[in-house]
Symmetry: C2
Subunit: 342 residues, 2 copies
DNA sequence: TATTAGCACTCTTACTGTAAGAGTGCTAAT
DNA sequence: ATTAGCACTCTTACAGTAAGAGTGCTAATA
């Protein structure tokens, strides 16, 4: 186990490095934080901490900086909770006040708030339709060969999609199908629909197989990648403010990843498995491009079911205590809002 | 007027600078381009060109680079047309092949293609609904206090929006209103609707004023800022590849602007007034953040009516001949595709 | 035994001077 | 009108130096 004094030192170094961005030496610690011991003692402790992998040295005669393991320990055991200031709370309230009820708007504004307050890059993943519950479906013929499929799911989302159909179909047939779907699918999550009902559906509507196939496919997969499932990003330029990205190659490869919605959404979805705030530090990230970064995520839910993720990405040297509080707060608020809209 | 030899020299300098990014000296010109004259002569010509504002010198003993005026002259009068390579044409074909019929997808892929081929940052502005023509509207009650408004406009776009209504309304009343709207508005652009009909509509449906007001508002303004009207951006990270953005402050302020959809959309809409390719160089841009950049835009249309803009942004030192060809080609293709989808 | 003072050592950074290279402008010659 | 020649300017790269920060080790101390 790690001793009490070592903890204090590790914490001091991490706090200092997070706010200043420069390696910390033993003298500085002794001066700034009153630990009641001299620099030499601190040096010894630091040497120990380095040996145990909590600290590293950029070069021989520099001060120490936290390693990934050091940050991890800091986040799990050392950091104090930093509340949001009243100004920040006010900002959040104001921004949300202008949002209309559309989910897209809500997510976009959420991303904006996160990036503005944190000064990192915000990532907001829309609700995963797969986890939402079927409420009802409607199909409306808008042209001889075009049908608008309208799906309403439980956390108050409305998704629409225009489907091109091969063969003509009467509104009567459509109605028939729709009423069947509505009767049988109500309340199921789309994932359950996928697992249990797809075959039955296909059999039942064998007659107009073409459209059913399309409709069901649509219901299950086609609605993926709809606006609500997108990744909303804000504050990309914030990243350029941190000296760790003065190396343009790093910045470029990071930007590249952020631009790739597909990869990004994967990275974020890892966090959706468990509820709550999750911190992923440096090399803990699977993707190489972000192993100099930390990603913080939080989940939002509807009816106790996690359906989406919000988060942010920034340098490892991140104000963890602040962003954890922030994301927790925003995620809770978002869950509330979605419940009301329901 | 500017002499023939001066033109050759200006062109040589511009070409060279565009591809290499370094100031060009008289010797280099004399060696690389066979103009039949020595460096000293070229020096004199260059001094003239500088005096007339076509060239500038980063510092006393450096070579020359084109000024904004120089680039302008180059684009208007000097540059040769650079065709797309067969590989590039193939790339375009392939990318579009995977697009489904949804407009959003189409625009997203368009942005991707532009940024991949040009290596600059692509900006694609969706169709301006104001300029599209009303085809038909539908209103569907999906909850006691929610109505889905479905608007189909002429270049094959379907826009939907869920409206919260204050007072209850029967489906019969909705139908009444809808049929009136469909009878009277068919074929008008949304702008015309706005100008001529709004008062009449309000009078006519005075009885259920609340919903009408909402519906009309929606029709005219509410659908703004819908997905199709967004700005699609791709290849932001490309910009970091150009040495002119090694200055992180420049890069940051540019990124900031690109992230601000509102500003960006304004910048692009300037170009929508006239049809065709438009080149805006350096200080010709109104916004300060992009006065080191050039923006190239092209318009796409439906039924001879310009409804949207595609474009890209990059350093002034840009491969103009290539990107002009590229945007022209893509814009034409996009217009075609939209016509078919219609 | 734990702590500390002292000191030699290492590494970075900022500054200086120097030399090479590129390009210019001017003048005089062609 | 063009060009050759030359002195001049400015940038860049390089090397050397000094200052500063921080370390690790050893010996002294409470």
């Amino acid at each position: 186990m790690i001793g009490e004094r070592k903890k204090k030192i590790l914490r001091a170094i991490t706090d200092d490095y997070i706010s200043l961005g420069e390696p910390i030496g033993s003298r500085t610690i002794a001066r700034k934080y009153n630990l009641g011991v001299g620099p030499a003692t601190i040096r010894n402790e630091m040497a120990d901490l380095e040996e145990n992998g909590y600290l590293e040295q950029p070069h021989t005669s520099a001060g120490r900086i936290p390693s990934d393991k050091g940050y991890r320990f800091y986040v799990d055991a050392l950091m104090s909770i930093e509340d949001l200031t009243s100004g920040e709370l006010e900002t959040i309230r104001k921004e949300y006040a202008v949002a209309n009820r559309e989910i897209e708007d809500l997510l976009r504004i959420t991303a904006k708030i996160i990036s503005n307050i944190s000064n990192y890059t915000a990532l907001v993943l829309g609700p995963q339709l797969q986890k939402t519950a079927f409420r009802h479906i409607q199909m409306i013929q808008i042209a001889p060969d075009e049908v608008l499929v309208l799906l309403v799911v439980d956390p108050g989302l409305v998704e629409t999609r225009v489907v091109q159909i091969g063969s003509a179909i009467s509104q009567r047939e459509l109605d028939d199908m729709v009423s069947f779907l509505n009767r049988h699918l109500f309340g199921l999550t789309l994932r359950e629909v996928e697992r249990t009902l797809i075959e039955e559906l296909k059999k039942r509507f064998f007659a107009y197989n073409d459209l059913v196939k399309e409709a069901v496919e649509l219901l299950l997969k086609g609605l993926r990648n709809k606006p609500s499932e997108r990744v909303y990003i804000d504050g990309v330029s914030n990243i350029l403010g941190y000296p760790e990205f003065y190396d343009l190659n790093k910045a470029k490869s990071l930007f590249n990843l952020i631009e790739n919605e597909h990869i990004l959404s994967n990275v974020l979805q890892n966090a959706t498995s468990t509820s709550g705030v999750r911190v992923t530090i440096g090399k803990e990230n699977v993707r190489e491009e972000i192993q100099d970064c930390s990603i913080i995520t939080a989940t939002y839910e509807v009816r106790g079911q996690v359906i989406g993720t919000i988060g942010l990405i920034g340098p490892k040297r991140m104000n963890y205590s602040k962003v954890v509080t922030l994301l927790e707060y925003i995620a809770t608020g978002l869950s509330e809002t979605l419940k009301k809209g329901n």
